[in-house]
C-alpha cells in the first residue's frame, strides 16, 4: 500500500496514531484536516477533544488542542469562542460524550446557538472502555453491558434530529458516514462555514469500531451499513 498523503495540518511527528487498526477516527480526522487545509483556517483554529477514543487525537494536528473531561467539550469550546470571536473552534466527542454524560451541555450549546462546530462520532458503543452500551446502541445489539442484546429501549438517540427541537433555524445539523467521504467532507466544510456565519453546527458521523464490534474488514462494513440503515445520513437541518 502506498503511503497515504496527509493534510498539511496533521502533525507528522506524532504519527503513527494510536487508534486501533480499522478505526473510523483516522478517516474522520484526515478529512477534517483536508477541510482545514482547504479553508486555510489552521492559524485561527482551536481543537477541543472529549473523553473516549477521540482523546487519542490530542496531538493529531498542528493545532492548539485541549482535551476536556467526558462530555465537557461543548462548554469548553463555547467559552473559548465567546472569548476569541475570530477563532474557529471545532470540538469532537463520541456518542457517549454527547448523548449521555454531556447531553445537557450539548443541547444547550445548540439552544444558545453558540457559533461552534461539533463533530459527534457514532459507533453505537463506548469504545475506549471496552464496548459498553451507548445511547446509540440499537435494539438487540450485543455489547459488553447488554450481553443478551439490548432490549430495554428499542429507540436509540438520534442526535441531529433531536437538536432540531432546540437549534436555531440557521444552525447546520447533518449526519455523514465514513463510508461516504466526499459527502462527509462537504458536511464538515458546511459546518465550519456555518460557524463562521455565527451559528451552531453539528455533524454526526457513522464510524467503525472493529475492535468492539469484533468484526473483520468485511463485517465492519456490514455493521456500519446496518448503522446507516438505522441512522439515516443526510442534512437534517440547514442549507
Amino acid at each position: 500500500m502506498s503511503n497515504p498523503r496527509f493534510p498539511k495540518v496533521v502533525k507528522t511527528e506524532s504519527k503513527p496514531s494510536n487508534f486501533c487498526p480499522g478505526c473510523g477516527y483516522g478517516i474522520i480526522l484526515k478529512i477534517l484536516g483536508e477541510v482545514i487545509d482547504e479553508m486555510e483556517i489552521a492559524p485561527r483554529t482551536v481543537f477541543g477533544i472529549d473523553i473516549g477514543c477521540n482523546l487519542l487525537a490530542w496531538d493529531y494536528f498542528n493545532l492548539d488542542t485541549a482535551q476536556t473531561h467526558h462530555g465537557r467539550v461543548t462548554p469548553m469550546i463555547s467559552g473559548y469562542k465567546m472569548s476569541q470571536k475570530d477563532s474557529v473552534v471545532i470540538g469532537i466527542a463520541g456518542d457517549g460524550g454527547l448523548y449521555a454524560i454531556g447531553l445537557q451541555s450539548f443541547i444547550h450549546t445548540a439552544h444558545r446557538n453558540e457559533p461552534v462546530t461539533v463533530i459527534g462520532v457514532n459507533n453505537s458503543v463506548y469504545a475506549m472502555t471496552g464496548g459498553q452500551s451507548a445511547p446509540t446502541t440499537f435494539d438487540h445489539e450485543v455489547t459488553d453491558t447488554t450481553p443478551d442484546g439490548k432490549f430495554t429501549s428499542k429507540k436509540p438517540i438520534f442526535g441531529p434530529e433531536m437538536l432540531t427541537e432546540f437549534a436555531d433555524e440557521k444552525a447546520f445539523l447533518a449526519r455523514g458516514s465514513v463510508n461516504n467521504i466526499p459527502v462527509l467532507k462537504s458536511y464538515l466544510r458546511k459546518a465550519i462555514e456555518t460557524q463562521l456565519a455565527g451559528n451552531f453546527s453539528f455533524v454526526e458521523v457513522i464510524s467503525y469500531c472493529p475492535t468492539n464490534w469484533k468484526t473483520n474488514a468485511e463485517a465492519t462494513i456490514d455493521f456500519s451499513k446496518k448503522l446507516e440503515s438505522i441512522y439515516k445520513t443526510g442534512i437534517i437541518s440547514g442549507k
Binding site: 502533525k11 485561527r44 462548554p75 463555547s78 467559552g79 476569541q84 445537557q104 451541555s105 444547550h108
Partner: protein, 355 residues
Amino acid sequence: MASKNTNNIITKQLLTGNEVALKGALVAGANFFAGYPITPTTEILSGWAKVAAKDKKLKFLQMEDETASGFAVIGALLAGKKAWTATAGMGHVLMQDPLALAESYRLPFVMYVGQRGGPSTGTVIYSQQELTLARYGGNGEGLRIVYAPANVSELYHYMQKAFDTAWKYRFPVIVLGDGYLSKTQTAVDLSEEVDVVKASPYFLNGQIKNMRNCFSTEDQLVDHLGFMFKEFAEASKEIVESESYRTADSEIVIFAWGSVGYAAKVAVVNLRNKNIKVGLFRPITMRPFDTKAAIKAVKKAKYIVIAESSAGHFGRIVRETLAQATDATYIRLYKPAEGITTEDIEEKILEVANV
C-alpha cells in the same frame, strides 16, 4: 487592607459581600464570567449579567449547570480572558470537575465560594463545611490556592489578589467565603487596588500547544505531578499568609478562620481588655497552610481553642499541623453549619481561663 478609618464615608460604600466580590473581580480585570444560579452567591451571577449588559468587553454565559460553567471558564482562560465563576454548596461539588482539569493544565481558574450548610442541599445560608472540598476536592492532590477572607473588606482585597496569584503562579485560586459574608451589607473602602499581573492567551499565540490531561502510563503522570509539586511548593513560600494576633504571650490561642476568624479577633480585643492572655491564629491561605506561623503562635499556649462552623474540617488541619509542636490541651468550639459569634467565643475563653 481596607482603611481603618471608620468615619471617612466618602471613600466607603455600603455593600454586600456578593457585591464586593464582583467589584473586586472587576477591579482585578476580570472580563469573563460563566455560572449557574445558586444561593447564597446568585447576586454575583446576576450582578455580572448587569455590568456585562452595559460593557461589551465583559463576557457572560449563564450555563446549564456548574460543571459546564467551569468548563466554559476553562475555554475562556485558554483564550486569555481573566475568567471566573462563583458558586456554593452542591455547585461547589460540581465545580471540582473543571477545577481538576484546571489543576492539570495549570490554569488560573478563579472561583468565589459562599459556603452553605451541608450535607446535600442542606441550607442555603451558612457553614464552614466546604473547607476540605475547597482544599482537596477533585481527584488529585489539591494543587490550588484557597484564600479565606475574614470580613467584607478583606473579601475586596483577596478577590483582587486571587487573580494576581492565579495568573502569576498558574494554579486555580478559590476565595472561600460563606453565606453570611456574601449577604452581609456593610461599609467597605473601595480605594485599594491590588497590582494584578496581565493575562495572556494559552492558545493562538504563535506557539502551538497540544494539551492533554490523560496520560498513557504511570511514568508520564508521575513526571507531570512531580513537576507540579515542585512548583506548588516554590509558589507556596510566596503565597502563604496568616495572621497571628497577640499570640506572643498567649496561654490561650484561638484557631479560627474566615468569618469566625474575625469574630475571634474581636473577642481577643475584648478579652485583652479584661487582662486575659488570649491570642488568635488565623490562616488566610487555607491552602497552602502557614505551618511555621501556626507553630510559632502556640509557643506559650496551654490551651488551643479551635472554633469553626463545622465538626472538624479545620480542627483536623490544626491538630496535624501542631502534632509535634505543642502539648497544649485542645478545646473544640464546633458548631457545624451554625454561626459562631464573638460572644460565643468570649464565653468559651472565659470558661477556659477560669479552669
